[in-house]
């Protein structure tokens, strides 16, 4: 048994360019009869080998045959009034082939770059930094509210019901004092001393106010993890 090795073509233009190159033809002056013959021979070969022929190959085959027949028309048969400088019937095909050829060359260049950069490596990520804090993500209101909800829930039952007279300003001052001694404080620890629901809420509002004033910022290592308050 023979193993016939058929080059694989991306499409009809690819095949045509291959034939032009193989026969060392001038792309700007394509001998249509010759190229059509070879093109059709190739399709016949594909058929004989039971290879599926994409419809695009047949469309171009028809185009080649049409150009060929128009080329055969003698010039003097031009009817009256028709432009003498009639367009070369090959022009459209040549334009398409040249356009395609450009991108085929560009694809080759890209392919070379691709294999080159496949051999270049960068430093792997994630890179462990000495301090974990640098991986903090900014924490938003949604997360804060959830944390507050948790605190209210945990404090439930243990809190005395009493009227709080702690004002928002006092709470803000208290929080800033807490932070003055530390670089960061756990969100949860802000509420350690709170005695009732009202005070929890006041503390929370004080925190929001400080965030707004950019006195503090709030971060966590990743979403749904511990929330840290930082001095700013």
């Amino acid at each position: 048994m023979y193993q016939v090795k058929l080059p694989i073509f991306e499409g009809p233009f690819d095949l045509l360019l291959h034939l032009i190159k193989k026969e060392e033809l001038n792309i700007y002056d394509i001998p249509v009869a010759k190229i059509t013959k070879q093109y059709l021979e190739y399709l016949t070969l594909m058929e004989a080998l039971d290879l599926e022929i994409a419809s695009e190959f047949l469309v171009i085959a028809a185009m080649l045959l049409s150009i060929k027949s128009r080329m055969l028309l003698p010039k003097h048969q031009l009817t009256e009034g028709e432009d003498d400088a009639e367009e070369d019937p090959r022009l459209e095909l040549t334009k398409k082939l040249i356009e395609y050829k450009k991108y085929k060359e560009a694809a080759d260049k890209l392919g070379q770059r691709f294999s080159f950069y496949q051999q270049i490596y960068t430093h792997p990520y994630p890179y462990e930094l000495e301090t974990q804090e640098t991986d903090l993500v900014e924490c938003d209101l949604f997360e804060l509210l959830k944390a507050l909800q948790k605190i209210l829930k945990e404090k439930e039952g243990t809190m005395k019901i009493s009227v709080s007279n702690v004002s928002l300003e006092e709470k803000m001052e208290y929080l800033q004092k807490l932070l003055a001694g530390e670089e960061k404080i756990l969100f949860f620890d802000l509420f350690k001393e709170t005695r009732n629901k009202m005070e929890v809420v006041t503390t929370f509002l004080a925190l929001l106010e400080l965030i707004k004033l950019k006195k503090v910022c709030v971060h966590q290592h990743k979403l749904f993890s511990e929330i840290w308050i930082f001095r700013q």
């Binding site: 890209l110 691709f114 051999q119 270049i120």
Partner: protein
Amino acid sequence: MKDHEKAKKIIEVLLFVAAEPLSLDKISQILEMKPPAARNLIFELKKEYWEAQKGLDIIEIANGYEMCTRHEYSPWIERLKKQRKENKLSPSALETLAIIAYKQPITRLEIDNIRGVNSIGVVQTLLDKKLIKLVGRKDVPGKPLLYSTTLEFLKTFGLPNLSALPQIDELIQ
């Protein structure tokens, strides 16, 4: 150590830890210096790396700078990783990508016209690999989708930016 030298070391460290190419803007912001001054430092650093014949290099890629290995060391890296980077692009993928790179934004029909074949499968592959993306619809009947290349495309092909692509018209002369 002089400030100048110190700044250069900082750039070295930043390029080392960054997970992706760092833009000149970002580098100059961190160093609190003007972009042209930062660029000069990057070039000096690159030159030093070259002169010391280091195994590492600093390249301009995907609108930024990145520290990477020189390509001649890949056989040893492959020994370490026990595998090659397993990415392959077919000739038709490269062909389609080249057309999109030069003519973006472009519709699939326009790609098909240049290639002379239907490109539906290969366009999907390129989308999956994040080498191209949808960027909108063309204002013609049927409102076809428009495709462009991505930052990932620049990274994959080691291109600093799109204008670093070779001039298309010079390619066939």
